[in-house]
Amino acid sequence: MPAPAMHGEGRNGVPLRTRRILMHAGIFLTLVLAWEIGARAGYLDPLFYPRPTAIVDSFIRIYITQGNIWRHLYVSLGLVFAGFAAGSILGIVLGSLVGFNALARRFVKPYVLVLEATPRIAVAPLLIAALGFGAQSKIAIIMLVCFFAPFINTLAGVVNVNEEKLELFNSLGASKFQILTKLVLPEAVPVIMAGERLALTASLSGVLVAEFIQRDQGIGSLILIYTRNLNMASAFACIFTLTVVGFLIFKGMEMLDRYIAFWNNETGMARVGAARKARWEN
């Protein structure tokens, strides 16, 4: 076992953090370099496994010199947010309605079990056939894939309300509506947010599948067309773009979660506590 580094100081006086970052960078560069050399030396078929430098070239081309990715990115993300908003709001509303009504819960349950087992994304060709080519069928696909997680999570959040708190509200003579708005929904917020995160990730996959099938525009069709033309470097550039988009979405949802469910983190509590104190004093 290595001796624990005190005060973040490693050997030779280099701070531990710096050393770790250097290590990460070193590993990354070694991998990239090995890939580049392997490709140049002919171990990797450049037609299928593009060199890192070729990917960088493609990045420059599709973003700057040719600049064609922007339009496709714009189209795809527009669809993602439209479908996500519609699908997840529908999920939350239906989830709380069904969750709060024992009879509805009983009758909806078998359908939920069946839907849960079905790969929702598989309905994509069917929806395109039914709604025709165009944005509406793509949005419908995204709605469908991102409806389920918020629905299930809202349902679970509403059903699994804390028994003791419910007893407290009953002992105070609270109405059903007061219990819903003052207890059940706020308590379900973290679970609902977790559902929203899953939904947004799923909607990114949804738009890609929709665009693979209906390849007129959008980042999915771009990847498909580049691959068909064996322009793998550009296809990889598109995929790394999606990595960045995915990362931003992930971080964005994390921040949103911390902002909305403020009572689960120190900074949130400090912010809201101060705001409420100010409001109280007015």
Binding site: N162, E164, K165, E167, L168, F169, N170, S171, L172, G173, A174, S175, Q178, K182, L183, P186, E187, V189, A261, F262, W263, N264, E266, M269, V272, G273, A274, R276, K277, W280
Partner: protein, 258 residues
């Protein structure tokens, strides 16, 4: 049997052969409990788990209905939760997304529109439980003991004059619990409320109460009423007095002879 109650002068809470069974009559949680509780007095219910003390409390709160017999508060029958009775639980059950003061205001919010007077009262109560400085802290920022103090302030904010407490400090450590018990005595004394306090700790029950109801399980019933003639205000030292120990022995004997 609780027979000593006929001597109560000014009964606030009364029970008439109250019984409660669960699971379609197969589990008798409480059998034939009759009692009268005097206005402004402090009553402890003590006994092992399954003796029906929590059931009795929930019956008085109107959270559940008796299978037989009837209960009255202020002379009217209990059939649902009512505004002159309020309850405090073993856990603080604070809402995490509300500050301490907003948690205290919850009962008022549920009953009506909150006025400036309500808000001032809530702040006074937080000061009474010693948390004036923490009014805008969230539950997660408070210790377990402080959370229970907020719950106590919330209990008092209801304005109820019958306070039901279900092992309110049972989840806290011994030192915090003793300190809170002394504060509890001071506060309910100040407010002049009638208090029914459930615990499984015999010494705690005697230390707090004017009257201790000893309960025994299977089926749950009131087995004995012990008057506690110890002078008030009480200090922790009273627990070492021979008089106190005699009362503890008395209760233990009833519980031992199950």
């Amino acid at each position: 049997m609780a027979t000593a109650d006929s001597r109560v002068r000014d009964p606030v809470v009364g029970g008439n052969s109250v019984g409660k069974t669960f699971a379609g009559g197969t589990v008798v949680a409480l059998e034939n409990a009759s009692f009268d509780i005097e206005k402004g007095s402090f009553v402890s219910l003590v006994g092992p788990s399954g003796c029906g003390k929590s059931t009795l409390l929930r019956l008085i709160a109107g959270l559940i209905e008796p299978t037989s017999g009837s209960l009255q508060v202020h002379g009217s029958k209990v059939s649902a939760p009512r505004q002159d009775v309020a309850m405090m639980f073993q856990r603080a059950t604070l809402l995490e997304w509300r500050t301490a003061i907003e948690n205290v205001l919850l009962p008022t919010e549920i009953q009506r529109r909150v006025t400036a007077d309500d808000r001032n009262r809530a702040m006074e109560l937080l000061q009474l439980v010693g948390l004036g400085e923490f009014a805008f802290s969230f539950p997660a920022q408070l210790s377990g003991g402080m959370q229970q103090r907020v719950a106590l302030a919330r209990l008092l904010q209801t304005g109820a004059d019958v306070l039901l407490m279900d092992e309110p400090f049972g989840a806290l450590d011994e030192f915090t619990r003793e300190r809170l018990n002394i504060e509890l005595l001071r506060i309910v004394g100040e407010v002049g409320a009638t208090t029914i306090f459930v615990t499984h700790n015999i010494a705690e029950a005697i230390f707090l109460a004017d009257k201790v109801y000893v309960m025994t399980p299977r089926p749950g019933r009131l087995a004995q009423v012990i008057d506690v003639p110890l002078a008030r205000p009480r200090e922790l030292a009273v627990q070492t007095s021979p008089e106190f120990n005699r009362l503890v022995e008395d209760a233990r004997e009833t519980l031992g002879a199950l």
